[in-house]
Amino acid sequence: MTGLASLTNPGLWLIAIGIAIVVFGFLPGVFTRLLARAYPKGDPRRAEMIAELYAVPRGERPMWVGEQFERVLFEAVPARLRLSKSRRWEAKIRRPKTVFTRRAVLALRRPTRPGRETGVRRHVPVYPGALAMYGGGRKGDGYGVFTATRVSRLWVTGVAHTDDGTRVIRFRRRFVVGMVHHTPERTPAVAAGGLRRAETQISDAVAQRSGAGTPRPARSR
């Protein structure tokens, strides 16, 4: 009897209708817009997600929004992280006065001594920003010369030009190698996910600067 009595209670009906309005009408839109913001600005998937909500029948919207969590987790979050990493590197490269301990020049491709080669080991993961270093290069004595900024996860043998001559130095992981004399307009824009393209650009630039042919990968020492 108490159950039947509660069904006829208008207050409970009002609460139930209110919950239905919130769950099926209000919350899906709010959550979808919040989730869409996980995509980087300008990403078409941002507007697409919001627009698709209106194509979903109201009864299915709460479940559909739940599915969007999965989508955001595997699409938007990695995209956001890539963009953030890329921006950090770009900011570092474009900083007008970056003080490093010395100026270092990487000799890519040409041997610095007989039997010794230098270069980027292809299988070593390289940050996009580190790859963007090739733009501010200058040519030295027969070397394909590049000015480097902070080199991370890069294993190369390099040549440091000093006043008293040239000496061979070896750069290690996360080692600050030199003063950046950057020319931002020549720095390639390495977009998120554009690592492969950047590698190709570097290969082309190296080949162009040091003669025909593709650069050989460095021999690890």
Binding site: P44, R45, A47, E48, I50, A51, E52, Y54, A55, V56, W64, E67, Q68, E70, R71, L73, F74, E75
Partner: protein, 104 residues
């Protein structure tokens, strides 16, 4: 591109109307794929040039909703997705036959 069950399902859904415009939600219904699976595949197909996307032209003041993004199959996509859909159709009866033998 790596051929998966999800890609085959999507290829079948897309090739049901090779010249038409395909919408994300409708594709998820027709292919039976969840959003978390469908949209990454659509993105890969866009990157590969098998699909192209555009936005519908609507008057927002009349429709009271934002324009939706749609996908269209390119010539390359029609060839590749057609092949995947055809092999998926071939495999379905074969799988049914093998299941029938096992059950018998």
């Amino acid at each position: 591109m790596r051929r998966t069950v999800a890609l085959s399902s999507l290829a079948l859904a897309l090739m049901a109307d090779p010249g038409g415009q395909h919408w994300g939600y409708d594709l998820s219904r027709s292919s039976g794929l969840r959003s978390g699976v469908l949209y990454p595949i659509l993105q890969r197909l866009l990157d590969a040039g098998w699909l192209e996307d555009d936005w519908e032209q609507i008057d927002r003041s009349i429709e009271k909703r934002p324009p939706r993004r749609f996908y269209k199959i390119t010539a390359l996509g029609a060839r590749e997705l057609g092949a995947i859909a055809a092999s998926a159709r071939d495999e379905q009866p074969a799988a049914s036959r093998s299941l029938g033998v096992r059950l018998a």
